[in-house]
């Protein structure tokens, strides 16, 4: 009996998550849209956690992989490349009944493709940078994170070829769906914007798979290699671990989940633009990882839920409270203030306070806790080791 107890809590949580649409419908709370957005960020945070938490490489440009994943779906599931007409298991139909313009590939194929494409890009970006010291590496990733959206911004005229449609972005992306299903399941045949349940279950399944992979990774040979490289690269290399391939795997796997999340986001929002992939998003995801506890899967999930919760609910609610106070006191400044505007102020405070007071996060990874609390100067300089004078 005892050996099953550790599964009890996750099982309850998963059950709750599966039942959420019914609870939501019963309470009439319209929370599914928010729940889906939160789930996307849970995936992103789990992806970044592999890079920052497990391998100890600070990545300030994680949003690039999110963008790449979204653009893969944009390119191959919309009318963007309207010079050709190609369909493969897609839900897209045209009004005239002819084959629709552009490339339309089933979302499920694209999801995999987006992940793989992001992972490959992650390795390409990672490879030349891995010999750099931690903070320089952070800046290089920041540079990439800035360049990729800007490239998408300007990619509408590459020698006359329109790759990304510029700032305007790619619109009207196909919905995912299972076209082979019977008509009685029409909301699953083609996911519509009015019934969010199929969307919710899709992202929930994706999140669960991500969690499972992360849990398995943590205790794998690779997971232990990450820890050793994070703590002391020289010693790890001496023990026969190849630091370069170990770090590359971290980049690739982190990017993989970033790409998955991006692909889902693109199909869900149906429109992608470079502006949606700004530096702020990278920082928001980093905040989630740091707040929850670097390296701790459950902590990171909690961090993502908490920060998005602050964003979507706490700040608007606080605003109404402040407005009420402002109205009562008669202060126009207070009754007009919109706290949600200053969310990044709060995220900044979270980053600073967490680093000053509890660098290991809300739910610490025990090993990381010891590394971060270690006051002895070391020699490595990844996230964990390498204290410096």
């Amino acid at each position: 009996m005892a050996r099953y107890r550790r599964f009890l809590l996750p099982a309850v949580l998963i059950l709750l998550a599966v039942l959420l649409p019914f609870i939501d419908a019963a309470l009439g709370t319209d929370a599914l849209f928010t729940a889906i957005t939160i789930a996307i960020f849970v995936m992103l945070a789990l992806g970044l956690n592999i890079v920052v938490g497990f391998a100890g490489l600070l990545d300030l440009g994680f949003v690039a992989f999110y963008a790449l994943g979204a653009y893969v779906v944009g390119w191959f599931a919309s009318t963007h490349f309207n010079g050709v007409s190609f369909s493969l298991g897609s839900t897209a139909t045209s009004l005239s009944g002819e084959a629709p313009d552009g490339i339309h590939i089933s979302f499920w194929i694209l999801l995999l493709l987006a992940g793989v494409f992001s992972a490959v890009c992650g390795m390409i970006i990672g490879f030349p940078t891995l010999r750099l010291r931690g903070d320089y590496l952070a800046i290089v990733t920041l540079g990439f994170g800035e360049i990729i959206p800007r490239f998408f911004q300007n990619g509408d005229n590459l020698n006359g070829f329109n790759l990304t449609n510029g700032t305007i972005g790619i619109k009207a992306i196909d919905s995912p769906g299972f076209p082979f299903l019977p008509d009685s399941l029409d909301t699953w045949q083609r996911f519509s914007t009015l019934d969010l349940n199929p969307w919710y279950y899709t992202i929930l399944a994706m999140v669960l798979v991500t969690i499972y992979v992360n849990v398995r990774l943590q205790n794998s040979r690779l997971g232990r290699a990450w820890i050793s490289v994070r703590e002391d690269e020289t010693a790890a290399a001496a023990m026969g671990i190849n630091p370069v391939t170990t770090k590359l795997w971290a980049y690739a796997l982190g990017a993989l989940f970033g790409g998955f999340a991006g692909a889902f986001y693109g199909a869900f929002i149906k429109n992608i633009f470079p502006d949606a992939f700004s530096f702020n998003i990278s920082i928001l995801i980093l905040c989630m990882v740091v707040l929850g506890g670097m390296g701790n899967i459950y902590g990171v999930i909690l961090g993502a839920i908490a920060l998005q919760g602050i964003n979507f609910y706490l700040l608007p609610q606080l605003s109404t409270v402040v407005h009420a106070i402002g109205d009562a006191v008669g202060s126009a400044a207070l009754s007009d203030v919109d706290l949600a505007r200053y969310n990044f102020f709060i995220f900044g405070v979270v980053l600073v306070l967490m680093m000053l007071l509890r660098p290991e996060g809300i739910i610490p990874n025990r090993q990381r806790q010891e590394e971060l609390r270690d006051d002895d100067p070391g020699t490595g300089d990844a996230m964990g080791g390498g204290a410096r004078a």
């Binding site: 940078t129 903070d135 320089y136 800046i139 540079g143 920082i283 990044f344 900044g348 680093m355 100067p377």
Partner: protein
């Protein structure tokens, strides 16, 4: 932390290191040479156009260089990329506009300076705004160090970097709350008229103003670091904190003074930026900060003359890219320079601190 005194031996060392380098550096040198030759061809074909762009690049670069100095000073002494520096610069420009519009601290103790009050009042107003902004930003710099960086002096490097990013967002949002999300205009106190008689090349009073503020600041800073007691203490701390403290140098105070200097430079460049461009906005610190950081890295982070050289180079690269590649690609070109330098030559052009793991060459 080195100053211009050893520039000659540095350039020799630079050549030496190219001679001894691997294929990647050689390719980079060849590419750089090709770009320079192409630019020179343009310069010969259209000298006036090239000269105008060069002037624009140099004045834009002067502001970037001043900001870059702040990054490099702090990096030189505690090896921290002070992310909040760019936003301190933004606060500096907001302090400047507040002083010039006569609403400082909500006290209307003098009338707004609008540009119609005569030259003397303008000069006084600009100087006063510069001094107030330098003082305010200096204090902010020291305050941030005390609150956010000092407690983490023995923590992993990246913990401090994350705190710095947090402080950057805090400052940016203070700017947002203070002046709102729209662009904030500066009064036109300095004439945009051309000084030169020729119409082909434009060199405005504003450009002169930038040079007139930057050069004394650079000279003063270089004197401070090379010749004063405190400057020597800074160099000592940069080399070896423990040894310096054993020699009776107050390390904490020295680090505070470094942040004070960085803040003063941020304040000065903030006001200058505002008066020069006429507009400031709450997120200007992020883009300008990144450009300036790129400049510091290009010159060799931790190296003062490197930051100045890098600043001018970035300014010129920017204006040349505007002219010959297209405005839309300029920022990509600059970030590409950042990445290429970090990947292939992390020490920068004149750098003396190794960025490669394990230290040393």
């Amino acid at each position: 932390m080195t100053t211009g005194g050893v520039a000659k031996s540095r350039s020799e060392a630079l050549l030496e290191s190219v001679r001894n380098s691997g294929w990647d550096t050689r390719i980079a040198v060849v590419i750089a040479a090709v770009v320079v030759v192409l630019l020179l061809v343009q310069a010969v074909q259209e000298p006036a156009q090239f000269a105008s762009q060069l002037v624009i690049g140099i004045t834009n670069g002067a502001i970037i260089a001043l900001i870059a100095l702040g990054y490099t000073l702090v990096y030189g002494i505690i090896e921290l990329i002070n992310f909040a520096h760019g936003d301190n610069f933004m606060i500096g420009s907001f302090v400047g506009i507040t002083v010039l519009s006569g609403t400082f601290l909500g006290l209307d103790f003098f009338a707004p300076i609008t540009g119609s009050g005569g030259v003397l009042i303008n000069i006084f107003g600009v100087l006063f705004a510069l001094v107030v902004a330098m003082a305010a930003c200096g204090l902010i710099g020291v305050g941030i160090e005390r609150v956010a960086y000092k407690p983490l002096r023995n923590s992993p490097r990246l913990a401090v970097l994350i705190t710095a990013i947090g402080m950057s967002f805090i400052l940016q949002n203070i700017g947002l709350i203070w002046k709102g999300p729209a662009q904030v205009p500066f009064p036109e106190l300095i004439s945009s008229a051309n000084i030169l008689p020729s119409e082909a090349v434009i060199f405005r009073w504003k450009d002169l103003f930038v040079i007139a503020v930057t050069v004394p600041l650079l000279v003063g800073l270089s004197y401070f670091i090379s010749s004063t007691r405190q400057g020597k203490a800074m160099r000592a701390v940069a080399q070896d904190k423990e040894a310096a403290s054993m020699m009776g140098i107050n390390v904490n105070r020295t680090i505070s003074i470094t942040f004070l200097l960085g803040g003063i430079l941020a304040g000065a460049s903030g006001v200058m930026y505002g008066l020069f461009n006429g507009i400031s906005v709450f997120n200007v610190g992020f883009t300008q900060g990144l450009f300036a950081f790129t400049a510091a890295v290009l010159g060799g982070i931790g190296n003062l003359s490197g930051a100045v050289v890098g600043g001018f180079l970035i300014g010129i690269i920017g204006s040349m890219a505007d002219q010959y590649i297209g405005v839309r690609w300029t920022s990509i070109v600059i970030f590409a320079v950042l990445i290429l330098v970090l990947v292939f030559r992390p020490r920068g052009l004149l750098g003396d601190r190794s960025a490669v793991q394990g230290g040393g060459e």
